[in-house]
Symmetry: C2
Subunit: 211 residues, 2 copies
DNA sequence: AATCCAACCAAATAGAGATTTGATTAGCCC
DNA sequence: GGGCTAATCAAATCTCTATTTGGTTGGATT
């Protein structure tokens, strides 16, 4: 019954990607609905057809898309029940890779949390905001849990898991700030480096590569 | 000759601190001159007496204060010419401590760089902006240089110094996001953890503590 | 006691930008 | 073909804010 998605029709995901890009460039508060619209050849007003709740809604949607993706990967890795060191290596790699594959979304997840937090508690999207923050907490907990388990099993050196997790995630998040598609290293290489760095920090040196 | 700094007179540094705080809470674009002014019991317009160039000027000033502080400490450490591992440990500690001692300024340095970068090249404060970015690059180079030196001297494991530096600084920057004065650990403890983590990552385990 | 000036304030000014509204267009279904 | 709705746009609205302007005020200076 609805109109067929014709040639000119802009897809929801296009808008989200555009929004993420603009958020990264100007920050949420600095981003203009017109900026976002221009990127998909729409006018500012037209965005409200796709996202009735407006700018706020766009941000939440961008963040949720990113979180969906990462969380799904992490949980798939965890389900394999590998030893802590291997699990952590895969988690770090997957996360870092996800960030390099969509830097804009990654950046939004880093830089715009503040925007969410300073959201008035009576704001209409407060509920959705809370839901996102909860998933974000889960994301972090996954990492911490693996680290704690590794310590208990004696695979990892004794570290304060809370801080270590923060350090790890800070380093990973920061990738979205400096990564360049045309840089010296690609996403996979960076991901590997990150994993190696933090496993080494846990006293778990790489299982001897080639010579 | 000027009026005596009487009771009500607000000091430049007070305004800067207020600005940093508001920037942290709302982000630069989201921060209001009125917000900042209120915090020091002034009106928005009055801020222009102290910072004629306005909001932009405030941001740059905040960032510069932070950079002055950190850079001075780093350079003082470097001047001692200690071995790479000890130098790095002190640098990490000093930096982390600086962040916890003034989280608002630390957060500004992390989150508002984007604001500077997206500044039009013909903006009046473009020059000052460039100067800041240059100092920021110096800051990062200090870390990388020490790491590279450590690798050459065989004190550190072989790592890709560029990425490792980014990872380290990402982790350090992130402190300004999660640190709470009333948290479980104080600044010094966090700083120590960070140093230990990254030295371990460089294959340079702590020089045997107690027990 | 007359002047000066830093430090303020209140009230414009000037725009920018999110959101709303009323129309328009083009496939789809009958 | 006629009617329906999704997808758009252009042109208001309506606020919110940076910045400017003109005026006070009170201690300093002389």
């Amino acid at each position: 019954m609805p109109r067929k998605p014709a040639d000119q029709t802009v897809h929801r995901t296009d808008i989200l990607q555009a929004a993420a890009t603009v958020f990264r460039e100007r920050g949420y508060a600095g981003a203009t609905m017109a900026d976002i619209a221009r990127r998909v050849r729409l006018t500012a007003g037209s965005l409200y057809h796709h996202f009735p709740a407006g700018k706020q809604d766009l941000l939440l949607a961008v963040l949720n898309v990113g979180m969906d993706n990462v969380l799904a990967q992490l949980e798939s890795i965890l389900a394999q029940n590998l030893p802590p060191d291997e699990t952590l290596r895969q988690m770090i790699t997957a996360h870092a890779l996800a960030v390099t594959q969509n830097v804009s979304v990654g950046a939004a997840m880093v830089f715009e949390i503040r925007t969410l937090i300073s959201l008035a508690p009576d704001d209409p999207s407060a509920a959705e905001r809370d839901a996102f923050l909860a998933r974000r907490a889960t994301f972090e907990r996954h990492f911490r849990t693996v680290i704690e388990r590794g310590i208990q099993r004696g695979v990892f050196r004794q570290v304060e898991a809370g801080i270590f997790t923060k350090a790890l995630l800070g380093a990973q998040n920061w990738i979205s700030v400096w990564y360049r598609e045309d840089g010296k290293l690609n996403g996979a290489q960076i991901a590997a480096h990150m994993a190696e760095t933090f496993l080494a920090a846990l006293g778990c040196p790489k299982n001897e590569g080639s010579t």
